[in-house]
Amino acid sequence: MVIVTHSMQQAARVSQKTAFFHLGNLVEYGETGQIFTNPQDPRTESYITGRIG
């Protein structure tokens, strides 16, 4: 099942894997735990830490 959301809390809570899309393009995909603790792409990091909306 795929859930699309802007709520970081919800994404972290319900998923095994997380993909971050920006302007329709896939930026980063990985284990949810890894995406939320140590994302590899600076755009992912900026988004999940609340630096870009």
Binding site: P42, E45, I48, T49
Partner: protein, 237 residues
């Protein structure tokens, strides 16, 4: 990655808590130096000042932990922000322990000042503490510059401190065997040396935390233990 959060209050919280860690680091650096100078100069007043100064360090640790808890509760930090908060909580605990060791050195110095001097180890203790203080300074500089290489250098230098401790351990043992009247003073001097060695371990742990903050991974735990005094019979060797 962008530097600033959309919620600028989050940035202010993080800046404030980092400023407190730097302030605490400065106080602890000073405590190490002062605690190490007083056995050499047999300056009781200076040793007392180190003991009193520890209160400020303890209070800062409490303040930092309260702030960190508030940031977690209100801001739900993730990724680099989460690593920063976790790092700050651990580093403040390490700094507080180093402050306690300095305080303990102050107490022992007061006792030692009442006795006749046994050997010239105070200079070696001061040099050992000076090296630990330099390691702490470099670790904090590495943190400000987000310089993982400098942090790794600090970790590597802990070997030297361990070796200095081994040498002092043998020296004190020899003095105690030569003349049992030296035992009381040498025991205190040995604990001072051990305190400085433990300070080095805490500085190493701080540097490891900073590498984790920058890279997201803890450095490899493949370091050889250089302090062999707990596993070797130094008398028969």
């Amino acid at each position: 990655m962008q530097d600033q959060h959309i919620a600028s209050a989050f940035d202010r919280d993080l800046e404030a808590i980092q400023a407190q860690i730097m302030k605490m680091g400065g106080l602890v650096e000073n405590a190490i130096l002062e605690a190490a100078v007083s056995p050499e100069t047999r300056d009781e007043e200076r040793a007392d000042a180190v003991r009193r100064a520890d209160t400020a360090i303890d209070e800062l640790e409490e303040l930092i932990n309260e702030e960190a808890a508030r940031v977690i509760a209100l801001r739900a930090p993730t990724a680099v922000d989460l690593r920063l908060i976790l790092t700050i909580i651990k580093v403040s605990a390490n700094l507080e322990r180093i402050g306690d060791y300095a305080k303990n050195m102050g107490k022992r110095t007061s006792v030692l000042a009442q006795m006749s001097p046994v050997n010239d180890s105070a200079g070696a203790l001061r040099r050992m503490a000076k090296e630990v203080e330099r390691m702490l300074k470099d670790a904090l500089d590495a943190y400000i510059a987000r310089d993982a290489e400098l942090a790794q250098d600090v970790i590597d230098r802990d070997h030297d401190v361990d070796q200095m401790y081994n040498a002092l351990f043998r020296e004190f043992l020899t003095f105690m065997m030569e003349d049992p009247r030296n035992i009381t003073a040498c025991m205190h001097l040995h604990f001072i040396a051990k305190n400085i060695e433990r300070m080095g371990d805490h500085v190493t742990s701080i540097a490891e935390q900073f590498i984790y903050l920058v890279s997201g991974n803890m450095p490899d735990e493949s370091r050889d233990k250089e302090d062999r005094t707990s596993t070797t019979n130094m008398v028969t060797e």
